[in-house]
Amino acid sequence: MRVAIIDYGSGNLRSATKAFERAAREAGITAEIDLTAEARRVRTADRIVLPGVGAYADCAAGLHAVDGMWEAVEEAAIDRARPFLGICVGMQLMSDRGLEKTITKGFGWIAGDVKEIEPADPALKIPQIGWNTIELRHAHPLFAGIPTGEQGLHAYFVHSYHLGAKRPEDIIAVADYGGPVTAAVARENLAGTQFHPEKSQALGLALIANFLRWNP
Protein backbone atom coordinates (compact mmCIF):
# COMPACT_ATOMS: atom_id res chain seq x y z
CA MET A 1 0.00 0.00 0.00
CA ARG A 2 1.34 3.41 -0.97
CA VAL A 3 0.21 6.46 0.99
CA ALA A 4 0.80 9.75 -0.79
CA ILE A 5 1.38 12.76 1.45
CA ILE A 6 1.01 15.75 -0.83
CA ASP A 7 3.95 18.13 -0.78
CA TYR A 8 2.91 21.46 -2.26
CA GLY A 9 5.14 23.76 -0.25
CA SER A 10 2.77 24.17 2.68
CA GLY A 11 4.75 23.88 5.86
CA ASN A 12 7.30 21.37 7.05
CA LEU A 13 6.01 17.93 6.18
CA ARG A 14 8.80 15.99 7.84
CA SER A 15 6.85 15.53 11.07
CA ALA A 16 3.79 14.28 9.15
CA THR A 17 5.88 11.78 7.20
CA LYS A 18 7.61 10.58 10.34
CA ALA A 19 4.33 10.20 12.22
CA PHE A 20 2.79 8.10 9.41
CA GLU A 21 5.89 5.91 9.24
CA ARG A 22 5.87 5.42 12.99
CA ALA A 23 2.12 4.72 13.20
CA ALA A 24 2.40 2.13 10.42
CA ARG A 25 5.42 0.47 12.03
CA GLU A 26 3.85 0.33 15.50
CA ALA A 27 0.55 -1.00 14.15
CA GLY A 28 2.32 -3.61 12.02
CA ILE A 29 0.90 -2.16 8.80
CA THR A 30 3.02 -2.43 5.67
CA ALA A 31 2.80 0.96 4.03
CA GLU A 32 5.09 3.02 1.86
CA ILE A 33 4.81 6.63 2.99
CA ASP A 34 5.38 8.66 -0.15
CA LEU A 35 5.91 12.39 0.39
CA THR A 36 5.40 13.62 -3.14
CA ALA A 37 4.98 16.75 -5.24
CA GLU A 38 4.05 14.77 -8.36
CA ALA A 39 0.43 14.70 -9.52
CA ARG A 40 0.76 11.30 -11.18
CA ARG A 41 1.94 9.70 -7.93
CA VAL A 42 -1.05 11.19 -6.12
CA ARG A 43 -3.44 10.02 -8.85
CA THR A 44 -2.30 6.41 -8.47
CA ALA A 45 -1.80 6.27 -4.69
CA ASP A 46 -3.76 3.87 -2.47
CA ARG A 47 -4.40 6.52 0.18
CA ILE A 48 -4.11 10.30 0.05
CA VAL A 49 -3.10 12.70 2.79
CA LEU A 50 -3.45 16.44 2.22
CA PRO A 51 -1.73 18.52 4.91
CA GLY A 52 -1.90 22.30 5.03
CA VAL A 53 -0.85 25.17 7.22
CA GLY A 54 -1.42 28.89 6.86
CA ALA A 55 -4.30 30.55 5.07
CA TYR A 56 -6.99 28.78 3.06
CA ALA A 57 -6.43 30.93 -0.04
CA ASP A 58 -2.67 30.35 0.03
CA CYS A 59 -3.07 26.58 0.37
CA ALA A 60 -5.61 26.43 -2.46
CA ALA A 61 -3.31 28.54 -4.66
CA GLY A 62 -0.34 26.36 -3.71
CA LEU A 63 -2.18 23.19 -4.68
CA HIS A 64 -3.33 24.72 -8.00
CA ALA A 65 0.25 25.84 -8.66
CA VAL A 66 1.48 22.24 -8.90
CA ASP A 67 0.68 21.11 -12.43
CA GLY A 68 -2.34 18.77 -12.42
CA MET A 69 -2.35 18.33 -8.64
CA TRP A 70 -5.85 19.64 -7.88
CA GLU A 71 -7.33 17.33 -10.55
CA ALA A 72 -5.17 14.41 -9.35
CA VAL A 73 -6.57 14.78 -5.83
CA GLU A 74 -10.14 14.84 -7.20
CA GLU A 75 -9.46 11.81 -9.39
CA ALA A 76 -7.97 9.75 -6.55
CA ALA A 77 -10.47 10.81 -3.90
CA ILE A 78 -13.67 10.95 -5.95
CA ASP A 79 -13.32 8.91 -9.17
CA ARG A 80 -11.19 6.18 -7.57
CA ALA A 81 -12.72 6.64 -4.08
CA ARG A 82 -9.37 6.19 -2.31
CA PRO A 83 -9.35 6.92 1.44
CA PHE A 84 -8.54 10.61 1.85
CA LEU A 85 -7.37 12.44 4.97
CA GLY A 86 -7.15 16.22 5.09
CA ILE A 87 -5.17 17.77 7.95
CA CYS A 88 -5.77 21.30 9.27
CA VAL A 89 -6.10 23.55 6.19
CA GLY A 90 -5.98 20.35 4.10
CA MET A 91 -9.23 19.42 5.85
CA GLN A 92 -10.64 22.93 5.39
CA LEU A 93 -10.10 22.64 1.61
CA MET A 94 -12.72 19.85 1.59
CA SER A 95 -15.37 22.58 2.10
CA ASP A 96 -17.26 24.65 -0.50
CA ARG A 97 -15.48 27.90 0.27
CA GLY A 98 -12.92 29.51 2.54
CA LEU A 99 -13.70 32.97 3.87
CA GLU A 100 -10.19 33.74 5.20
CA LYS A 101 -8.76 36.95 3.65
CA THR A 102 -10.86 36.47 0.49
CA ILE A 103 -13.47 34.03 -0.79
CA THR A 104 -11.75 30.91 -2.16
CA LYS A 105 -13.34 27.88 -3.74
CA GLY A 106 -12.54 24.52 -2.16
CA PHE A 107 -13.12 20.95 -3.32
CA GLY A 108 -16.79 21.18 -2.30
CA TRP A 109 -16.97 17.70 -0.76
CA ILE A 110 -18.23 18.82 2.64
CA ALA A 111 -21.01 21.39 2.27
CA GLY A 112 -20.25 24.58 4.18
CA ASP A 113 -17.79 27.44 4.54
CA VAL A 114 -14.59 27.79 6.53
CA LYS A 115 -15.07 30.75 8.83
CA GLU A 116 -13.41 32.35 11.81
CA ILE A 117 -13.91 30.69 15.18
CA GLU A 118 -15.81 32.92 17.59
CA PRO A 119 -15.28 31.79 21.18
CA ALA A 120 -18.13 32.97 23.40
CA ASP A 121 -15.56 33.83 26.06
CA PRO A 122 -13.43 36.86 25.09
CA ALA A 123 -10.62 35.52 27.32
CA LEU A 124 -10.05 32.71 24.83
CA LYS A 125 -7.39 33.71 22.36
CA ILE A 126 -7.45 33.31 18.61
CA PRO A 127 -5.75 31.27 17.26
CA GLN A 128 -6.45 28.27 19.42
CA ILE A 129 -2.97 26.85 19.99
CA GLY A 130 -2.48 23.81 22.15
CA TRP A 131 -4.12 20.69 23.46
CA ASN A 132 -7.84 20.13 23.70
CA THR A 133 -10.08 17.15 24.21
CA ILE A 134 -12.62 16.26 21.55
CA GLU A 135 -16.21 15.08 21.65
CA LEU A 136 -17.46 12.55 19.11
CA ARG A 137 -20.74 13.41 17.38
CA HIS A 138 -20.85 10.08 15.56
CA ALA A 139 -18.88 6.89 15.93
CA HIS A 140 -16.37 6.64 13.09
CA PRO A 141 -13.65 4.09 12.22
CA LEU A 142 -11.01 6.85 12.43
CA PHE A 143 -11.69 7.16 16.16
CA ALA A 144 -12.04 3.44 16.89
CA GLY A 145 -10.49 2.60 20.27
CA ILE A 146 -9.52 6.22 21.00
CA PRO A 147 -10.72 7.58 24.36
CA THR A 148 -12.51 10.88 23.71
CA GLY A 149 -14.59 13.23 25.86
CA GLU A 150 -13.44 15.29 28.82
CA GLN A 151 -11.37 12.45 30.31
CA GLY A 152 -10.09 11.31 26.93
CA LEU A 153 -6.86 11.86 25.04
CA HIS A 154 -5.87 15.32 23.85
CA ALA A 155 -5.44 16.57 20.29
CA TYR A 156 -3.13 19.39 19.22
CA PHE A 157 -4.77 22.39 17.54
CA VAL A 158 -3.35 25.45 15.80
CA HIS A 159 -6.11 27.38 14.01
CA SER A 160 -8.21 30.52 13.77
CA TYR A 161 -10.81 29.17 11.31
CA HIS A 162 -12.94 26.06 11.24
CA LEU A 163 -15.30 24.26 8.87
CA GLY A 164 -18.90 25.22 9.48
CA ALA A 165 -20.37 22.10 7.90
CA LYS A 166 -23.99 22.47 6.81
CA ARG A 167 -24.92 18.80 7.20
CA PRO A 168 -24.66 17.74 10.86
CA GLU A 169 -23.92 14.16 9.80
CA ASP A 170 -20.63 15.31 8.21
CA ILE A 171 -19.27 16.50 11.56
CA ILE A 172 -17.84 13.54 13.44
CA ALA A 173 -16.03 15.36 16.25
CA VAL A 174 -15.99 18.78 17.87
CA ALA A 175 -13.77 20.49 20.41
CA ASP A 176 -15.01 22.94 23.01
CA TYR A 177 -13.29 26.29 22.63
CA GLY A 178 -15.83 28.71 24.02
CA GLY A 179 -18.42 26.75 22.05
CA PRO A 180 -18.08 23.87 19.62
CA VAL A 181 -15.47 24.06 16.86
CA THR A 182 -15.33 21.42 14.14
CA ALA A 183 -12.55 18.98 14.99
CA ALA A 184 -13.16 16.27 12.39
CA VAL A 185 -15.40 15.74 9.37
CA ALA A 186 -16.08 12.67 7.27
CA ARG A 187 -18.24 11.57 4.38
CA GLU A 188 -17.87 8.23 2.62
CA ASN A 189 -14.14 7.76 1.87
CA LEU A 190 -13.28 11.36 2.73
CA ALA A 191 -12.16 12.48 6.17
CA GLY A 192 -10.37 15.42 7.69
CA THR A 193 -9.16 16.67 11.05
CA GLN A 194 -8.78 20.30 12.09
CA PHE A 195 -6.21 19.24 14.70
CA HIS A 196 -2.79 17.89 13.76
CA PRO A 197 -2.68 14.09 14.23
CA GLU A 198 1.07 14.17 13.47
CA LYS A 199 1.58 16.42 16.51
CA SER A 200 -1.00 14.80 18.78
CA GLN A 201 1.07 12.04 20.38
CA ALA A 202 -1.01 9.02 21.44
CA LEU A 203 -4.31 10.19 19.94
CA GLY A 204 -2.63 11.15 16.69
CA LEU A 205 -0.73 7.89 16.21
CA ALA A 206 -3.89 5.89 16.92
CA LEU A 207 -5.90 7.96 14.46
CA ILE A 208 -3.25 7.62 11.74
CA ALA A 209 -3.15 3.84 12.27
CA ASN A 210 -6.96 3.80 12.01
CA PHE A 211 -6.75 5.77 8.76
CA LEU A 212 -4.22 3.28 7.36
CA ARG A 213 -6.61 0.41 8.21
CA TRP A 214 -9.78 2.20 7.11
CA ASN A 215 -11.77 0.49 4.34
CA PRO A 216 -14.63 2.86 3.54
Binding site: S15, D121, A123, L124, K125, G130, W131, N132, Y177, Q201
Partner: protein
Protein backbone atom coordinates in the same frame (compact mmCIF):
# COMPACT_ATOMS: atom_id res chain seq x y z
CA UNK B 1 6.81 26.36 31.69
CA UNK B 2 10.49 27.26 31.38
CA UNK B 3 12.82 25.97 28.68
CA UNK B 4 16.36 26.02 30.08
CA UNK B 5 19.12 26.05 27.46
CA UNK B 6 22.16 24.11 28.68
CA UNK B 7 25.83 24.87 28.62
CA UNK B 8 27.97 21.89 29.61
CA UNK B 9 31.57 22.85 30.30
CA UNK B 10 34.51 20.56 29.60
CA UNK B 11 38.03 22.04 29.57
CA UNK B 12 36.54 25.56 29.39
CA UNK B 13 34.57 24.74 26.24
CA UNK B 14 30.86 24.34 25.63
CA UNK B 15 30.30 20.66 24.77
CA UNK B 16 27.65 17.98 24.71
CA UNK B 17 28.33 14.47 25.91
CA UNK B 18 26.56 11.33 24.80
CA UNK B 19 25.13 9.32 27.70
CA UNK B 20 27.47 11.08 30.12
CA UNK B 21 30.62 9.68 28.54
CA UNK B 22 33.47 12.22 28.80
CA UNK B 23 35.28 10.56 25.87
CA UNK B 24 32.32 11.29 23.57
CA UNK B 25 32.26 15.06 23.75
CA UNK B 26 31.25 17.27 20.82
CA UNK B 27 32.50 20.85 21.10
CA UNK B 28 29.73 23.27 20.13
CA UNK B 29 31.32 26.55 21.16
CA UNK B 30 34.82 27.29 22.42
CA UNK B 31 33.51 30.47 24.05
CA UNK B 32 30.84 29.64 26.66
CA UNK B 33 30.20 33.31 27.46
CA UNK B 34 29.37 33.99 23.82
CA UNK B 35 27.02 31.01 23.88
CA UNK B 36 25.28 32.46 26.94
CA UNK B 37 24.75 35.71 25.04
CA UNK B 38 23.33 33.80 22.07
CA UNK B 39 20.80 32.02 24.28
CA UNK B 40 19.73 35.30 25.88
CA UNK B 41 19.33 36.94 22.46
CA UNK B 42 17.22 34.00 21.31
CA UNK B 43 14.73 34.82 24.05
CA UNK B 44 15.53 32.28 26.75
CA UNK B 45 14.99 33.50 30.29
CA UNK B 46 17.17 31.09 32.26
CA UNK B 47 20.48 29.33 31.75
CA UNK B 48 21.50 25.88 32.97
CA UNK B 49 25.24 25.32 33.34
CA UNK B 50 27.07 22.11 34.21
CA UNK B 51 30.75 21.90 35.09
CA UNK B 52 31.45 18.44 33.69
CA UNK B 53 35.06 18.25 34.85
CA UNK B 54 33.80 19.43 38.24
CA UNK B 55 31.21 16.65 38.40
CA UNK B 56 33.93 14.06 37.90
CA UNK B 57 36.52 15.65 40.19
CA UNK B 58 34.20 16.75 42.99
CA UNK B 59 35.28 20.40 42.90
CA UNK B 60 34.66 23.35 40.58
CA UNK B 61 37.08 23.09 37.66
CA UNK B 62 35.66 25.46 35.04
CA UNK B 63 35.18 28.34 37.49
CA UNK B 64 36.64 30.96 35.16
CA UNK B 65 34.27 29.96 32.35
CA UNK B 66 31.30 30.12 34.72
CA UNK B 67 32.31 33.60 35.86
CA UNK B 68 32.63 34.70 32.24
CA UNK B 69 29.09 33.39 31.63
CA UNK B 70 27.77 35.27 34.66
CA UNK B 71 29.21 38.54 33.36
CA UNK B 72 27.91 37.87 29.86
CA UNK B 73 24.22 37.30 30.61
CA UNK B 74 21.51 39.01 32.62
CA UNK B 75 19.50 35.79 32.77
CA UNK B 76 19.44 33.85 36.03
CA UNK B 77 21.95 31.01 35.93
CA UNK B 78 21.83 27.66 37.71
CA UNK B 79 25.06 25.69 38.06
CA UNK B 80 25.78 22.08 38.89
CA UNK B 81 28.83 19.86 38.91
CA UNK B 82 31.34 19.41 41.69
CA UNK B 83 29.68 21.66 44.27
CA UNK B 84 29.78 19.64 47.47
CA UNK B 85 30.31 21.94 50.48
CA UNK B 86 28.50 24.87 52.06
CA UNK B 87 31.51 27.09 51.44
CA UNK B 88 31.42 26.29 47.70
CA UNK B 89 27.71 27.05 47.59
CA UNK B 90 28.13 30.37 49.35
CA UNK B 91 31.06 31.30 47.12
CA UNK B 92 29.05 30.69 43.95
CA UNK B 93 25.90 32.45 45.15
CA UNK B 94 27.99 35.47 46.10
CA UNK B 95 29.33 35.55 42.56
CA UNK B 96 25.81 35.95 41.22
CA UNK B 97 24.43 32.48 40.55
CA UNK B 98 20.66 32.26 40.95
CA UNK B 99 20.71 28.61 41.97
CA UNK B 100 23.21 25.97 42.87
CA UNK B 101 22.46 22.39 41.88
CA UNK B 102 23.56 19.68 44.29
CA UNK B 103 23.88 16.21 42.83
CA UNK B 104 26.21 13.60 44.25
CA UNK B 105 26.42 15.30 47.63
CA UNK B 106 22.63 15.26 47.92
CA UNK B 107 22.74 11.46 47.74
CA UNK B 108 25.67 11.07 50.08
CA UNK B 109 24.75 13.77 52.57
CA UNK B 110 21.09 14.89 52.53
CA UNK B 111 21.72 16.91 55.70
CA UNK B 112 23.93 19.26 53.72
CA UNK B 113 20.96 19.97 51.44
CA UNK B 114 18.86 20.81 54.48
CA UNK B 115 21.50 23.16 55.87
CA UNK B 116 22.01 24.81 52.48
CA UNK B 117 18.27 25.36 52.02
CA UNK B 118 18.05 26.98 55.42
CA UNK B 119 20.99 29.29 54.71
CA UNK B 120 20.11 30.04 51.08
CA UNK B 121 16.35 29.69 50.72
CA UNK B 122 15.08 29.37 47.16
CA UNK B 123 18.59 29.00 45.76
CA UNK B 124 19.24 25.28 46.17
CA UNK B 125 18.19 22.78 43.54
CA UNK B 126 18.81 19.06 43.65
CA UNK B 127 19.88 17.17 40.58
CA UNK B 128 18.69 13.59 40.49
CA UNK B 129 20.25 11.54 37.74
CA UNK B 130 18.70 8.15 37.27
CA UNK B 131 19.20 5.06 35.21
CA UNK B 132 16.26 2.66 35.23
CA UNK B 133 14.72 4.60 38.11
CA UNK B 134 17.85 4.23 40.29
CA UNK B 135 20.02 7.17 41.29
CA UNK B 136 23.47 7.52 39.66
CA UNK B 137 26.34 9.50 41.21
CA UNK B 138 29.96 10.61 40.58
CA UNK B 139 29.42 12.07 37.12
CA UNK B 140 27.18 9.08 36.35
CA UNK B 141 30.10 6.66 36.59
CA UNK B 142 28.54 4.92 39.61
CA UNK B 143 25.05 3.53 40.11
CA UNK B 144 23.31 3.21 43.47
CA UNK B 145 20.39 1.13 44.71
CA UNK B 146 18.49 4.21 45.84
CA UNK B 147 15.25 4.94 43.96
CA UNK B 148 14.83 8.39 42.41
CA UNK B 149 11.42 8.96 44.00
CA UNK B 150 12.74 7.74 47.35
CA UNK B 151 15.57 10.28 47.22
CA UNK B 152 13.27 13.09 46.10
CA UNK B 153 10.93 12.43 49.02
CA UNK B 154 13.82 12.99 51.45
CA UNK B 155 13.80 16.63 50.39
CA UNK B 156 10.08 17.23 50.92
CA UNK B 157 9.52 20.16 53.25
CA UNK B 158 13.21 21.06 53.30
CA UNK B 159 12.82 24.03 50.98
CA UNK B 160 14.47 22.70 47.82
CA UNK B 161 13.70 25.12 44.97
CA UNK B 162 13.60 22.48 42.25
CA UNK B 163 14.52 18.93 41.35
CA UNK B 164 16.26 18.47 38.03
CA UNK B 165 15.53 14.95 36.91
CA UNK B 166 17.81 13.50 34.26
CA UNK B 167 17.24 10.19 32.60
CA UNK B 168 20.80 9.10 31.87
CA UNK B 169 19.84 6.49 29.33
CA UNK B 170 18.39 9.22 27.15
CA UNK B 171 20.69 12.19 27.72
CA UNK B 172 22.39 13.43 24.57
CA UNK B 173 20.97 10.72 22.34
CA UNK B 174 17.88 12.68 21.28
CA UNK B 175 15.49 9.80 21.88
CA UNK B 176 12.90 11.97 23.62
CA UNK B 177 12.46 12.77 27.31
CA UNK B 178 11.30 9.95 29.57
CA UNK B 179 8.03 11.76 30.24
CA UNK B 180 6.37 8.93 32.18
CA UNK B 181 9.12 8.75 34.81
CA UNK B 182 9.52 12.53 35.00
CA UNK B 183 5.82 13.25 35.38
CA UNK B 184 5.45 10.42 37.90
CA UNK B 185 8.18 12.07 39.99
CA UNK B 186 6.47 15.47 39.69
CA UNK B 187 3.29 13.95 41.11
CA UNK B 188 5.15 12.06 43.85
CA UNK B 189 6.63 15.22 45.43
CA UNK B 190 5.52 18.81 45.91
CA UNK B 191 8.91 20.19 44.83
CA UNK B 192 8.88 21.63 41.29
CA UNK B 193 10.47 19.17 38.84
CA UNK B 194 12.51 20.09 35.77
CA UNK B 195 12.82 17.46 33.05
CA UNK B 196 16.20 16.83 31.53
CA UNK B 197 17.96 14.41 29.25
CA UNK B 198 16.93 13.68 25.69
CA UNK B 199 14.68 16.56 24.66
CA UNK B 200 14.71 15.79 20.94
CA UNK B 201 12.24 17.79 18.89
CA UNK B 202 9.32 20.19 18.91
CA UNK B 203 7.16 17.15 19.68
CA UNK B 204 8.80 17.11 23.11
CA UNK B 205 8.12 20.85 23.47
CA UNK B 206 4.43 20.31 22.65
CA UNK B 207 4.43 17.34 25.03
CA UNK B 208 5.42 19.79 27.79
CA UNK B 209 2.16 21.67 27.23
CA UNK B 210 -0.10 18.62 27.60
CA UNK B 211 -2.22 19.01 30.74
CA UNK B 212 -0.60 16.06 32.56
CA UNK B 213 2.78 17.83 32.35
CA UNK B 214 1.53 21.03 33.96
CA UNK B 215 3.12 20.08 37.29
CA UNK B 216 6.56 20.42 35.70
CA UNK B 217 8.49 23.66 36.11
CA UNK B 218 10.15 23.17 32.76
CA UNK B 219 12.75 21.24 30.83
CA UNK B 220 16.42 21.50 29.96
CA UNK B 221 17.54 21.31 26.35
CA UNK B 222 21.09 20.74 25.18
CA UNK B 223 22.12 18.98 22.01
CA UNK B 224 18.83 19.59 20.16
CA UNK B 225 19.26 23.37 20.48
CA UNK B 226 22.84 23.21 19.23
CA UNK B 227 22.18 21.02 16.21
CA UNK B 228 18.98 22.78 15.17
CA UNK B 229 16.48 20.02 15.87
CA UNK B 230 14.68 22.45 18.13
CA UNK B 231 14.23 25.95 16.76
CA UNK B 232 14.40 28.30 19.77
CA UNK B 233 11.86 30.82 18.48
CA UNK B 234 9.35 28.14 17.56
CA UNK B 235 9.82 26.28 20.85
CA UNK B 236 9.40 29.42 22.96
CA UNK B 237 6.31 30.39 20.93
CA UNK B 238 4.70 26.99 21.51
CA UNK B 239 5.29 27.27 25.27
CA UNK B 240 4.12 30.89 25.47
CA UNK B 241 1.01 30.46 23.32
CA UNK B 242 -0.30 27.21 24.70
CA UNK B 243 0.29 28.42 28.22
CA UNK B 244 -2.05 31.33 27.69
CA UNK B 245 -4.57 29.13 25.88
CA UNK B 246 -4.74 26.59 28.70
CA UNK B 247 -4.88 29.31 31.30
CA UNK B 248 -7.84 30.99 29.64
CA UNK B 249 -9.49 27.63 28.99
CA UNK B 250 -9.26 26.86 32.71
CA UNK B 251 -10.83 30.19 33.59
CA UNK B 252 -13.92 29.35 31.60
CA UNK B 253 -14.55 26.05 33.33
Amino acid sequence: MILFPAIDLKDSQCVRLKLGNMEQATVYNADPAAQARVFEAQGFEWLHVVDLNGAFEGRSVNGAAVEAILSATKNPVQLGGGIRALAHIENWLTKGLARVILGTVAVRNPDLVKDACRLFPGQIAVGIDARGGKVAVEGWAEASTLGAVELARKFEGVGVAAIIYTDIDRDGVLSGINWEATIALAYAVSIPVIASGGLASLDDIRRMTLPDAKKLEGAISGRALYDGRIDPAEALAILRDSQSASRSARLTR
